[in-house]
């Protein structure tokens, strides 16, 4: 891993930044988030420019680069307040899993669309009784002749209204041992007996979360992703990119908040000097900058490990990066609001709205506490409480 980005990475960063500036926070994303409307124009343009599919294989219309580049795209968009939540799900989780483990038919059918953004795939693992304890999911796939019949319930599934399909994490019965093992199914959102109900969230966001009811949804044999026996590895392949992209969104939002705060602190005079001259304002901003930079570095390390093929090494780094980025971005937004005084809470700036967005990343896709559990158990070798 090098700390020096290649010309391609630098140019990509610059081009994405320009796109993000056009669809900037206060003029585009914020009003859309408040109206609960999707960022379709930005999504389509980012897709057309090859930004959404940058990490997917070239032979399926992607850019052939890595998760490093995909995270870079998400970070630069988010740094203009134009982060795309569905990037975390559609190309990063679903695209990666299908590219690595999908059948030839699944890749041909889905990857070109996921790469250019013309197709969207949501991802559903969380259930009412299986959030942090995701291995306790009860959605099951049962074989019936040539078809699969999937039954279960999912909650908090993002972007289902705009998605063509949801990659559903379920379990199947091992025909030899009778034990349940994870399996991934591509479930079209238009499938019969598939019902998506919007959840009422207290966050202003362009995407919505849904409760899904799958009541004997019948799927063709080709709906099962890859090998029935390899589902755990498949799932794992998608979760590292998910965490890295989550970190990228958080780092980007933190950068946005810090830039706003610094601009205001440099110009707003209350006594003789701009408020940024007071250490009470300057030091927390400097601290924010350090924390964001550290989180970003860990995110880049995770991406570099992942792209080198080291899934296990990437897991620890991706978890740490997501933890650090979420914490740093929340503090950055907190401090940005405080730096602005009363203006920090005005609708015009939308910083509280962004704080709520940053707050998501402390909980999803894996909570702060579960990352601390992971590090305590796997890195430090401490005993497990659960």
């Amino acid at each position: 891993m090098s700390f020096i980005e290649t010309d391609v990475q630098k140019d990509l960063r610059a081009s994405v930044a320009r796109l993000g500036e056009r669809y900037s926070y206060t003029s585009y994303t914020l009003p859309r988030a408040r109206a609960g409307e999707p960022l379709t124009e930005l999504w389509n343009e980012a897709g057309k420019l090859g930004f959404l599919g940058v990490s997917l294989p070239e032979e399926y219309g992607g850019g052939g680069a890595g998760i490093y580049e995909l995270a870079l795209v998400e970070e630069e968009l988010s740094a203009r307040g134009a982060g795309l939540m569905m990037m975390v799900v559609s190309p990063a989780i679903c695209g990666t899993i299908l590219a690595r483990y999908g059948t030839g038919e699944q890749r041909r059918r889905w990857l070109p669309g996921l790469a250019d953004g013309s197709k969207i795939m949501a991802f559903g693992i969380t259930e009412p009784d299986a959030g942090s304890n995701s291995h306790q999911i009860t959605t099951t796939g049962r074989r019936d002749g040539d078809t699969w019949v999937v039954t279960g319930r999912k909650v908090f599934i993002t972007g289902v209204d705009r998605a063509d399909a949801v990659l559903i994490v379920a379990r199947t019965e091992d025909h030899r041992t009778g034990k349940l093992k994870p399996a991934l199914f591509i479930v079209p959102t238009g499938a019969e007996n598939f019902v998506a109900q919007p959840m009422e969230m207290d966050i202003a966001e362009p995407e919505h979360q849904f409760t899904l009811f799958l009541d004997d949804v019948r799927l063709p044999a080709g709906a099962l992703v890859g090998q029935q026996d390899a589902a755990l590895a498949q799932l794992f392949a998608g979760l590292n990119p998910e965490r890295i992209l989550g970190a990228a969104m958080a780092v980007g939002m933190g950068r946005y908040a810090l830039a706003q705060a610094v601009k205001y602190a440099s110009t707003r005079r209350v006594w003789k000097t701009p408020v940024g001259a007071h250490q009470g304002i300057a030091h927390p901003l400097a601290q924010t900058r350090i924390e964001l930079e550290l989180a970003r570095l860990m995110m880049q390390k995770a991406a570099a490990l992942y792209d080198s093929g080291d899934d296990t090494g990437a897991a620890e780094a991706a978890n740490m990066a997501k933890y650090a980025a979420a914490e740093a971005s929340i503090r950055a937004l907190e401090q940005a609001i405080q730096t602005h005084g009363g203006s920090g809470l005005t609708a015009e700036l939308g910083l509280s709205t962004m704080l709520a967005m940053a707050r998501i990343i402390r909980i999803a896709p894996v909570s702060r506490e579960m990352i601390l559990n992971f590090v305590a158990e796997h890195t430090l070798g401490l005993p497990k409480s659960y």
């Binding site: 010309d7 391609v8 140019d11 990509l12 610059a14 081009s15 320009r18 796109l19 057309k48 420019l49 090859g50 930004f51 940058v54 850019g63 680069a65 580049e69």
Partner: protein
């Protein structure tokens, strides 16, 4: 059709720009060099014309080694190849000297259409297109907000204070464009990857047949005699509204001939 787009790297207008003491030339060593904004419109127009008329777009840039970044960016937008004229002897060239150097290169490469931005954000002379056309002996169509090409006939809308004039000429010609003309594309990831492999010819003064005595600071016809930092902004006038705020504001504007 052989289209040449002239591209200049300029310091980022968002950062503070400085003049070098002594020479009075712009300090180009600042870290953030960008493509001059209007040149992006020129590149976009060149690409659109090339797409519609089976043309090829060559980027021509004169500037220090660092300008290679801007050339790469122009190539990533979709231009086919580039020429970079780079030589210490060019430093400090004014518009007249620059137009001479660029015209020399254009004479050698040949062209059907030369497109430039209508001015650069650093020097803001806005004369290069006219000077180039004059030196090359071809028509100049400046301040274009729309370009149409039909065979060898070129028609542009030339922006004026009242509206626009329609100006027509025959190719080869030099066009300078305004920002109203189009919306420049962003480099796609494929474009960025492809730019790495596109040919960039680097020319010194000698390579390009440019006479060293006619370029650079010493040969420039204009000279910066003196310069000073902009005086600090004066405190504004605060009009207190005591029921007559509108009248007072109007009086203020009338006094300064705004209304």
């Amino acid at each position: 059709m052989n289209i040449v787009v002239c591209v200049k790297q300029v310091p980022d207008t968002a950062t503070e720009r400085r003049l070098r003491p002594g020479e009075g030339t712009l300090d180009r060593a600042t870290p953030d060099g960008l493509i001059n904004e209007l040149d992006e419109y020129a590149i976009e127009e060149g690409l659109r014309i090339a797409e519609a008329h089976e043309g090829e777009v060559t980027i021509l840039s004169m500037g220090p080694a660092k300008a290679a970044e801007s050339i790469r960016k122009a190539l990533s937008m979709g231009a086919d190849k580039a020429i970079h004229v780079v030589d210490d002897g060019l430093a400090g060239s004014d518009a007249l000297a620059t137009s001479y150097a660029i015209a020399q290169v254009l004479e050698e490469t040949g062209f059907d259409l030369v497109i430039t931005g209508s001015e650069s954000t650093d020097a803001r002379m806005g004369v290069l297109a006219a000077m180039l056309a004059e030196r090359l002996g071809v028509p100049q169509l400046t301040l274009a907000s729309k370009v149409d090409i039909d065979g060898t006939r070129i028609t542009v809308r030339r922006v004026s204070d009242e509206g626009f004039d329609e100006v027509e000429a025959s190719l080869p010609a030099v066009v300078s464009v305004m920002e109203k003309i189009n919306e420049p594309r962003y480099p796609s990831f494929k474009g960025i990857m492809a730019a790495k492999k596109k040919p960039v010819r680097t020319l010194s003064l000698a390579d390009a047949g440019i006479d060293a005595d006619q370029v650079g600071l010493a040969a420039s016809a204009t000279e910066v005699v003196d310069f000073a930092a902009r005086p600090p902004r004066q405190a504004g006038v605060i009009v207190k509204d005591e029921g007559d705020g509108g009248t007072k504001a109007a009086a203020f504007l009338t006094e300064r001939k705004f209304i």
